[in-house]
Symmetry: C2
Subunit: 336 residues, 2 copies
């Protein structure tokens, strides 16, 4: 970057600095998987026998880097995971970067490298991108918005409308890791801990299930966490979602931080987990598929779809019951 | 929005306030053209006999509203236009909103309504969206990133590689209107004026040309303006781009503001114009197609592709010559 150590407004003006930034930092990191920077729009190859699916997500996480990930890997995996839980095979990604004047160029290079590595790991091809620079004090270092395009094979049927009373509710691993790892990285509370974000693509967990008719519905519990996914199911189906507290996997370290600060881990974001609702007779099969993958090692059956009620009931360790209300106050903003 | 007059952090937390914001403000404005808010990813119908094309763009314009448009209509048209100049028919749009805490809810409602109206006018279907809220002082009211998906009919051949010496360079209307209208709306210079942005979808101008083999290349001159498009052509082809200053349409009011402030209108952004390079014998035909549309009324032939040189030469009114250099300093940041 011709010796620039920080982002300036000129990196966003459509001229030489912007071209060099894109060519030397972004395109180099993405390599052959990156966009053709001379095109206004990029062509896609979408095979027949499948439905193209699209999703978009903005990422404003603070700090930009945290144990287990950064805003780059998060922006890839977050959008890939929305495709994955829809039963689609992720194919293409676009990215829009909003840089704040003064952003450290070395940090940007690390994040772009992480973005590129995450895209290669899925794999998804980064076909289009855009960069804007906003003045100091009107951003927060870097915001990224990604859009993902995938192919859902014909025959995939997934949706909340397929959920029936008696279905099993599964989760692919511990909940709340991402939220707590980001929170600890902020060093706001003078707390230390070694919780790593679960940030990862969930495609190894979803692709083997997408065409299994016993699988009704999948969703990744991001903002608002497991409790919010359970609420969405309860709202849409009108059924009660009954969760068993002792069955919900939560890391000791995550539970410890939550107890100390009064957070409820069920509302904290995951970025590499899947919640699935499956026919009860398929629960063990799905869990063994998940547990064979490193990111599904902690998978468990955590609940059951009940009859009418439209609420989320948590059966506590001591045999009590509490209802998880819809999230109103944000316990941990800016975690994704 | 249960009486809220301003955006709060809770509108971005994945809980009730966010759901209400999306259902009551965004989904209502978009109506049936809007996304199904219960889905993680939206299915697309993409006809065969055409290549799907994708593009993405971030919008950080300041102020959010200006004569002739706002960040909502701009975010639709800017992305639609990148598809259009690629010869594609725009079909689908996704949007990512990054709201700043404290944003006036009435302004947001106006902008979302404008976004929806612009999408209907194209038309493009808004199939997916995302909302984040960042704390006061880490945004600028509202940033929008849109991604567009369109279909380029088989047989469309457009690209800078097709450009040949002797080709004509055309522009569909006056240049610099958008940049000046946004600048005046900032009221920074104590200047008043009635310049309206040219913000509009250019599909009526591009669709009749996309399959015409005499049309080599089209691009919308946004950031960096006409001069930057000319540079991109010169760089990519190695040919000289010769522009005739008296032939370039510039509104008197735009020229006046530029003279006063020392701006060069050729570097200022347009948001509803097309620059096309066409075979010389097709120039008049293309101009008459453009002039038949209200947004092409001011179209003109502004230059010619020269021989080797790789520079942008401007022949001035007085018979002199100056070279337009690549943009380095941003004359007007935050105009898109």
């Amino acid at each position: 970057m011709t010796g620039e150590t920080h982002i300036t407004l000129a990196h966003g003006n459509g001229g030489r600095f912007m071209r060099e930034l894109i060519e030397e930092v972004v395109a180099r990191a993405l390599g052959e998987a990156g966009p053709d920077t001379d095109l206004d729009a990029a062509p896609l190859e979408l095979a027949s026998g499948a439905t193209p699916m699209v999703t978009t997500d903005g990422f404003t996480v603070l700090p930009l880097e945290f144990p287990g990930g950064d805003i780059g890997s998060l922006a890839v995996n977050g959008t890939v995971n929305d495709l994955a839980v829809s039963g689609a095979v992720p194919k293409y990604l676009t990215c829009g970067f909003i840089l704040e004047e003064g952003l450290d160029m070395a940090a940007l290079e690390r994040i772009v490298a992480s973005f590129a590595a995450a895209a290669r790991a899925v794999p998804v091809e980064v076909v289009a991108g855009d960069t804007k620079v906003v003045p100091r004090g009107q951003g927060s270092g870097l915001y990224i918005t990604t859009t993902g395009i995938g192919l859902r094979p014909d025959g995939v049927r997934l949706g909340m409308a397929l959920i029936r009373p008696g279905d099993a509710v599964l989760v692919s691993g511990t909940v709340g890791d991402h939220g707590v790892s980001v929170m600890l990285a902020r060093e706001e509370f003078d707390l230390k801990g070694n919780v790593r974000s679960d940030c990862a693509a969930v495609t190894p967990l979803t692709l083997p299930l997408a065409t299994n008719p016993a699988v009704r519905f999948m969703r990744d519990p991001t903002r608002g966490g497991l409790a919010t996914v359970a609420h969405e199911i309860a709202r849409a189906t009108g059924y009660e979602v009954c969760l068993s507290e002792p069955a919900i996997p939560v890391l000791e370290s995550v539970r410890g931080v939550c107890d100390m600060l009064g957070y409820d881990p069920y509302y904290l974001a995951c970025e590499g987990r899947v919640v699935a609702v499956v026919a009860p007779e398929a629960a063990e099969e799905v869990l063994s598929i998940w547990r064979a993958d490193e990111n599904g090692a902690g998978a468990g059956r955590i609940g059951t779809i009940g009859e009418d009620g439209g609420r989320v009931r948590l059966e506590t360790e001591l045999g009590g019951t509490r209802y998880l209300e819809e999230l109103e106050d944000d316990p941990l903003p800016r975690i994704c």
